[in-house]
């Protein structure tokens, strides 16, 4: 049984000009111990599809799917109370802007301990000990002292480590990382990606890595879903995707990487669709 299974997910938003379809029939699976990357350019529906899984979309969103299960449980029919027990505990998420995701008014220690209190009901002393353990696990020096820091007293990379500590606090089965390094410098990105992959392997978690960066895909994923305008263009294991991309869209994305440049101009998406074929019609799976 797959850890997360989604079939034909559709998300539509009510807008002033009618319904807008942000996710258009996406299906995917994540197994235990597996890293699935969802890659696509901005607006391709990566975040919205995962927010749908977590039940975190605003009321203007209409979510339908033929199937959406986590660990065998149907997420579509879950009550809000039941969902709150799962989200943040068995499914955890980290976001792009670490500093904005933390509450500026509370110490990082308080925020980590709050997760432990809410989901695990740990007592004061145990919470403190576990929080120190977690900060150690994510590589923050002087963890005991750091618990009393406020988010603005830490760098972006350190805040992202704190977010990761909170995400793994309850030993989740699935970790969803939404562009976790996009706001960070590359040397910090490297540290955070290494940390995520290490924790994923140690804890045997399933992980979904959402990114627009092909390099991040190459460095972390086992399997990859390529998304464009709300649709799945291609799904493949990571090596096949880079060696033998099948959809025209994936080919175009890889060719646009400056590292793959052959001439003195870069191919653009349009070069791959000279015949005027609609990209969305070119999906393969």
């Amino acid at each position: 049984m797959a850890l997360l299974e989604i079939e034909n997910l559709v998300v539509e938003f009510q807008t002033t000009t009618g319904m807008f379809r942000a996710v258009d029939g996406v299906s995917l699976k994540v197994d235990q111990r597996e890293v699935l990357a969802i890659v696509g350019e901005s607006g391709s529906g990566k975040s919205v599809s995962m927010l749908a899984v977590m039940g975190l979309l605003p009321w203007t969103a209409k979510v339908t799917a033929d199937k959406m299960t986590f660990n065998g449980r149907d997420l579509l029919t879950l009550s809000d109370a039941e969902r709150r027990k799962i989200v943040g505990k068995d499914i955890a998420m980290i976001f792009q802007e670490p500093i904005a995701s933390l509450n500026p008014c509370y110490t990082v220690g308080f925020q980590i301990e709050e997760v432990l209190r809410f989901h695990l009901g740990l007592g004061r002393k145990e919470r403190r000990a576990r929080a120190i353990e977690l900060l150690t696990a994510v590589g923050i020096p002087n963890p005991a002292e750091r618990l009393d820091s406020f988010p603005h007293q830490m760098s972006g990379g350190q805040c992202q480590r704190v977010m990761i500590a909170m995400a793994i606090a309850c030993n989740p089965k699935l970790l969803i990382a939404d562009e976790p390094t996009t706001a960070l410098d590359v040397t910090i990105q490297k540290q955070i990606l290494d940390l995520l992959v290490k924790l994923q392997a140690e804890h045997g978690m399933g992980m979904i890595m959402i990114t627009h960066n092909m390099g991040v895909v190459a460095e972390t994923a086992d399997r990859v879903v390529v998304q464009y305008k709300g649709r799945k263009m291609e799904e493949a294991d990571v090596l096949s995707l880079f060696e033998n991309p099948r959809s025209n869209y994936t080919k175009a994305l890889l060719a646009a990487l400056p590292d793959n440049a052959t001439g003195d101009r870069l191919p653009t998406i349009a070069d791959y669709f000279k015949d005027g074929s609609e990209i969305a019609g070119a999906a393969v799976s």
């Binding site: 410098d185 590359v186 090596l239 400056p258 003195d264 653009t268």
Partner: protein, 275 residues
């Protein structure tokens, strides 16, 4: 070959205001940086956030003065604190910023954005201003129909084209591009990089291209300067810097940049399976 831009020992300190209980400090943002760029070439400046790239960009484009050091444009020494900033010099050097949203006035139509530099220069009649703006729109891959539209009606990539068009209206010889593609999607980035290459060929433009992305730098640069905490720790031709980086920081930066080639992926998967 003629040198368009030369910087000698450029230093920039920022004085931090002291509070009631704290003494004001000094930030040494740029600590004595020297380089020169020849006509028609691209110097890429690479480094992580806070290393002084934008500070240097503002000094090169005569927006801010250096604390010390000398700046030469086409061989002439320029010190903006001494009133050297003539209209002609202003024309010569232009800047394009990273954020295609923040750098355009939302209430200004694109046509007005493009003609404004000509108005400030003076002595260009209105119909010629319009004509030159229309031509520039086409040069950057937009059309006449965009002339009367407002910035919010454009995508990020289109706005960056507009910012480039505006910078080129006065036929500058030097363009300083401060992270011009960092906010763009991969496919749009490719289009903007191609546009910059086309424009450089056509007008023999000189670029200072600031970026934190090594793969973009390797693609676009003739020469590369790596900055680290305000210092130029590495400076040389693209081939030399990428083939044989000398400074530890450059090596760290290279090692941290994700590799997306099949051989690297295969090696990673092998390591993973062995663990």
């Amino acid at each position: 070959m003629s040198v368009v831009l030369e910087a000698k020992n450029i230093v920039r300190d920022y004085q931090l205001p002291g509070g009631l209980f704290s003494k004001g400090g000094v930030v040494h943002a740029v600590k004595g940086v020297s380089f020169s760029v020849e006509k028609g070439k691209t110097l890429a400046i690479v480094g992580e956030s806070g290393c002084g790239k934008s500070t240097l960009a503002r000094i090169l484009t005569l927006i801010d003065p250096a604390t010390s050091g000398d700046l030469f444009i086409k061989g002439k020494k320029v010190d903006i604190t001494k009133g050297d900033l003539t209209k002609d010099l202003r024309r010569e050097v232009q800047i394009v910023f990273q954020n295609p949203y923040g750098s355009l006035n939302p209430r200004q139509k694109i046509g007005d954005v493009l003609t404004a530099p000509l108005v400030i220069q003076g002595n260009v009649p209105a119909d010629e201003r319009r004509e030159r703006a229309m031509m520039m729109l086409k040069k950057v891959g937009l059309g006449e129909e965009h002339y009367n539209r407002y910035p919010h009606m454009f995508s990020g990539g289109q706005r960056q084209r507009i910012a480039i068009a505006r910078a080129l209206m006065l036929n500058p010889s030097l363009l300083v591009l401060d992270e011009p593609v960092s906010a763009l999607d991969l496919s749009v980035q490719a289009q903007v990089l191609n546009l910059l290459a086309d424009l450089q060929d056509e007008f023999n433009l000189t670029y200072v291209f600031i970026s934190h992305d090594l793969s973009v730098v390797r693609y676009i640069a003739d020469e590369v300067m790596v900055m680290y905490f305000g210092e130029a720790v590495e400076y040389g031709t693209r081939e030399a810097v990428f083939a044989d980086p000398k400074h530890d920081y450059t090596k760290t930066l290279f090692a941290a940049t994700p590799k997306a080639d099949p051989a690297s992926i295969r090696a990673r998967l092998a390591r993973k399976n062995a663990a």
